[in-house]
Amino acid sequence: MDQPTTNVLLIEDNPGDADLVRLRLVEGQSPVKVNCVNRLSDGLASLARETPSLVLLDLNLPDSHGAETFRRLMEHSPNVPVVVLSGQDDEVLAMKAVHHGVQDYLVKGNISSKNLERAMRYAVERQALLRSLEIAQKQQLEFKNQFLSHVSHELRTPLTCIHQYVTLILDGLAGPVAPDQADHLKTILKSVNQLHAMIRDLLEATRAESGKMRIEPRCVALGELLQQAVAMLRPTANEKKVGLEIGLDQRLPLVQADPDRVLEVLINLVDNAVKFTPADGAVMLQASLVDADPDSVYISVSDTGRGIGPEAKALIFERLYQDPDSVDNNRSGLGLGLFICREIVRLHQGRIWVSSEPGQGSTFTFTLPTYSLAKLLAPVITHQNRLRSDFVLVRIELTPLSNPPRGNWKETWQQCLEIVRRCVYLDKDLVLPAMGASGAAETFYVVASTDLQRSGIMTTRIREQLERVSDFKAKCTLNITTMPVDLQHAPTDESLDQQVQNVVGCVTKMILASMERKYLSAGKSGQNAN
């Protein structure tokens, strides 16, 4: 039988070992071509040019040692089969490499042409199997996404019809409705809304799973969001006679987060908490700072329900998980809520976890990054460890011309924000995250390392680009103002950190002064965060 040539990349710096392996390869039955290099960097360079059938890898090379060697190689070329050549005293490390995903290892000194050939052949076969499994999984995921997207569309159509007719009758548009009948209709409407929420979750979870979920972080005061969540769930809690309270840390800084998404997480957690708390129990929402982790705000939702057992605790954030003990609590949804929460928190670079003792209630906690102007600004207002010289603050205000705004306002201002981001220099200007909850008028701030005169070029560019947005002038008015950042005192002996803080302080003051009064209280705590 005519066998195909096996192309081997041998990465081995000891000439004696390399020759021995080469010899064993030539002795084998099947045709082999060997490319031998003695440094990992040369190996990676070779892999970048062409893909061999497999790699034979010594772990101790002049430019890389031990575990680092296979980690770097596999990160560079995850799909190439690797067989490690280990020393006799190194089998533990070699086993570690196998756990990390290399196909096999051979102990130097015990290499025969037969076991080498066999190891190589199996390595190639196994890698090929693994690869086709990966492809199949990917296709399956894609199919599942398409299927769910289709199903959710098909489910919405009859649901819309039910929704329309129920609201039609409830609103009295089909004749007078007796109070009893109205109550029954409200029950139907509640179930319709639950079904609607499930369909939304289904699509949302699919999106999270395939990495298509997006967030738009803003500078947000958490207190307002907590209050919104509580206001939305107050009726349900009252109905169940469950107390619902908020505890806010007075020092609470602003956070950098997508307010709509965070509200989604809060509603989900509070809704669950209310659901699993018996009458006369209480649900508490808290936002606080933890001294050991000053860059995060901790938001927790505690209940006085019956708690969660250890097995459930480990799985509760997984997709489709249902606590077996709560199945009797029939309308508990699809088991997607906490999975979606986890994905949203993860997109914010936060963490989410639950602590609970059976019978003692549970506490769900998640973290969000604090909004720190200093951290955001430092990279752009300094250059080679020195503060740049001139700064201006540009304020771009978009005010919709009608209420509600024409078209999709969120889409419009996000498009505008993208345009503004493209109009600045990434290394010396910064478009700050939008402020407050997204609502009607949107204000963006740009801190630019430039003087007042040259900033005119930037603002002209921004104005021209924005006015090209389709229908821009029919949708909103644009107001751009430029203010120089006046650093009152700048003693030269200040450390760079102090100089940055000085700029941050000035910029914060200017933003606060130019903002509406309703943001003032939130902004004051924001200063502490900087």
Binding site: L168, S402, N403, P404, N408
Partner: protein
């Protein structure tokens, strides 16, 4: 003053009937179509003040209808509100680019929908409220 006329386009006749009842109760005159072709024909004949348009339609889907409307001098000015069960993530931007004034996913909130209808029809149908600054 004559009531503003709204053309409702949806291939589900039950939904069309419900929409007609609700819109009439809100003081609009209503005409209807259940496919893309008759939607255009009806728009040409009736010259509605606003069109509520589904995307999945027989004989020319919602996007075809949007394109036809945009390409017509006399019809391009009619505001179109898309009301579809499709995923907004894939369809909202496309619909707005094709000329729609707004996108609602089914089932839509009635109050929000009525509000956007009122604003889109403009001054003769409803007063334009200035956004509080």
């Amino acid at each position: 003053m004559a009531k503003p006329k709204i053309l409702v386009v949806d291939d589900d006749p039950d939904l069309v009937r419900a929409m007609r009842l609700r819109l009439r109760a809100n003081n609009y005159e209503v005409t209807t179509a259940t496919d893309g072709y008759s939607a255009i024909a009806s728009a040409q004949k009736d010259r509605p003040s606003l069109i509520i348009l589904d995307l999945g339609l027989p004989v020319g889907d919602g996007f075809v209808v949007l394109e036809r409307l945009q390409n017509s001098d006399v019809l391009a000015g009619i505001p179109v509100i898309v009301l579809s069960a499709r995923d907004p993530q894939n369809n909202e931007e496309r619909a707005l680019k094709a000329g729609a004034a707004a996108f609602f996913q089914k089932p839509a909130d009635n109050d929000e929908l009525m509000n956007v209808i009122r604003v889109s029809i403009g001054p003769e149908g409803a007063q334009r409220a200035a956004w509080p600054s």
